[in-house]
């Protein structure tokens, strides 16, 4: 699909003509990320983060495939093989630090990408499928990152595997057999390490596949934009290439600077020192924490310390452990329903004054959850997590639907072009002679 005014792929080189007839792959690329894809002319820098996520995935794939050439997925030697990569393999330290910090920066980029979508209403019709596929990618990323963190077989790896597979043991009746089945034993061991390695290698390619679907679904309605007003004509768009390839190239440069700062000046800043202690099944570290990008969800998991009971009878309906697990999964799964929870017809937060205030509160709430998830399981952090977790669910299940019915949105611009010209104090009619004169 495309807009009718999209440029057409016309190969001039006879070789490219020949290829196009046999396999129109260059045509596909031209229409997807080339001059053949018209994009709203007003995208801001938040629209860089989709491409940056793709760049981060590429870095992970390249460094990961190389690391797998030197790593040994055996519980007896896995920890030593990681030290071997760090000390003996040529540039091994660089590859491992790039991979470990690459995961962090991948999550930073994806979180900004998700919050971009939340603020500008990118999840709303007609882009629901783009959003749903994005949540699927996010879930796959979390599974991949978790299994990757287990591979160095340090203390945090081992106990992370124990705690996360222990989540499944919370399911009534079948829970413990499921945990044993996932681990291939009664505790994390060689069987678990091997299968995690196999899946950690597989899932990034599955992610790449779902990303193709994500972009395919996006290109049917075309990209959203900061005004949330749909494209109305050729004057509202510019070709992806060279306009946004250039802008994304600039974004990629900034991204690489931040990434290089992390890799070269703070390679262990986001990691946990306990993971440099070899796994010991007999001793739990004093303070188990997952990687920082799981902290908000970990805080929700730990927020449930009381059973759900029938009042005054003491009969337990749902034990606290299962409540925590259900809440943690629900906190992500509810994103699947977001396009139907937020019923406001206005997409962009720019024109929704009430929504904008609560959106900032949501960001603060998630940051508080993140801080509590990284803190020890003590007061006041437990109480704060409980309040913050309650607010998280309230935002999506109560506040968003209410805002949609009470809010009076600001007037929307007539078109993207009108919004762009308004910045220079012009109207569409005033701009026309200027454009004509320029031609």
């Amino acid at each position: 699909m495309s807009f009718p005014w999209a440029e057409h792929y016309t190969p001039k080189n006879p070789l490219m003509k020949w290829v196009d007839e046999k396999l129109p792959l260059p045509r596909l690329v031209y229409n997807a990320v080339g001059a053949g894809y018209p994009v709203p002319r007003n995208l801001n820098f938040f629209w860089n983060f989709g491409v940056l996520a793709g760049l981060a995935l590429t870095i992970q794939l390249v460094t990961g495939i190389i690391l797998a050439m030197h790593y040994a997925a055996n519980a007896g030697i896995a920890f030593d093989s990681v030290e071997h990569i760090m000390r003996d393999v040529n540039a091994g330290w660089l590859l491992r630090y790039a991979h470990a910090n690459g995961a962090s920066i991948f999550f930073i980029v994806v979180y900004i990408h998700i919050f971009r979508g939340l603020y500008f209403g990118s999840y709303k019709a007609p882009r629901e499928m783009v959003w749903l596929l994005g949540v699927v990618i996010f879930l796959l990323m979390m599974a991949t990152a978790f299994m990757g963190y287990v591979l160095p077989w340090g203390q945090m790896s081992f106990w992370g595997a124990q705690v996360i597979t222990g989540l499944f043991a919370a399911i009534p009746v079948v829970g413990e057999p499921i945990q044993t089945w996932l681990l291939g034993g009664f505790a994390p061991g060689n069987a678990a390490l091997n299968r995690f390695f196999s899946l950690h290698y597989l899932l990034p390619f599955v992610i790449a596949g779902v990303i193709i679907l994500h972009i395919w679904a996006l290109h049917i309605p075309g990209s959203s934009n900061p005004t949330g007003v749909e494209v109305k004509g050729p004057q509202d768009t510019v070709p992806f290439h060279p306009y946004y390839t250039a802008k994304d190239g600039f974004g990629a440069g900034v991204f690489m600077i931040v990434f290089a700062l992390l890799v070269f000046f703070g390679p262990n800043m986001l990691g946990h020192p306990d993971n440099y202690i070899a796994a010991n099944p007999m001793s739990t570290p004093a303070h188990i924490v997952p990687e920082w990008y799981f902290w908000p969800f970990y805080a929700i998991l730990r927020a449930f310390t009381m059973d759900l009971t029938i009042p005054f009878t003491g009969i337990v309906l749902v034990p606290a452990k299962l409540l925590g697990v259900l809440a943690m999964f629900a906190s992500i799964l509810l994103l699947f329903f977001l396009p139907w929870i937020d019923t406001s017809p206005v997409r962009s937060g720019k024109y929704r004054p009430l929504f904008r205030k609560f959106f900032i509160l949501l960001i603060v709430d998630v940051l508080i959850l993140g801080y509590c998830g990284g803190a020890p399981a003590e007061e006041p952090y437990v109480m704060i997590s409980q309040l913050a977790a309650a607010y998280y669910f309230a935002h999506f299940l109560i506040i968003l639907p209410l805002i949609a019915s009470f809010e009076r949105p600001d007037p929307l611009p007539g078109s993207i072009t009108e919004a762009v010209l308004a910045k220079s104090g012009l109207t569409v009619d005033e701009a026309k002679p200027v454009a004509a004169a320029a031609e």
Partner: protein, 188 residues
Amino acid sequence: MATEVQGIEAAEAEGEGVRRRDFINIAAVSFAGVGGLAVLFPLINQMNPSADVLAQATTEVDLSAIQAGQAIKAVYRSQPLFVRHLTDKEIAEADAVDVSTLRDPQTLEQRVVDGKKHWLITMGVCTHLGCVPLGAGEGENRGEYGGYFCPCHGSAYDTAARIRKGPAPKNLVVPPYKYTSDTAILVG
């Protein structure tokens, strides 16, 4: 329409055609479906514990060297096992609790072998998410109920290893074991 009606009539007259093909379709798809499920079973079952993992499923523990008030960590099915020699005071503390107020109501008697009330043998695996609670090692934090304390999410167990506080839903699990002599047990 006319030809279709004729076709059905013809098929009925011959006792085959459409209905015979339907039968073949259903039979073929069912057969392939059963075959697919049969193939799926080993693909799923391979993830269960292998024979060598299952083979390491019993452990012997010698109790003779453990002093009253002391506890040791042994290994059972590659998980920690707590063997604790309770003092009279700890037993009294455990017995003083009103069982009906507990989250997972059990008396100390129900958690030890008859006549061996001083020996509390439990898994060293927190029933919340599987961390190893503190309290079995020398000088470790035993929590506010004097038994075990899980540092991961703050579950506190009493001197009978019963859950008293925090997110864990159950008491520490008592594995199957028997006394092979007065001072030795076989777990598993």
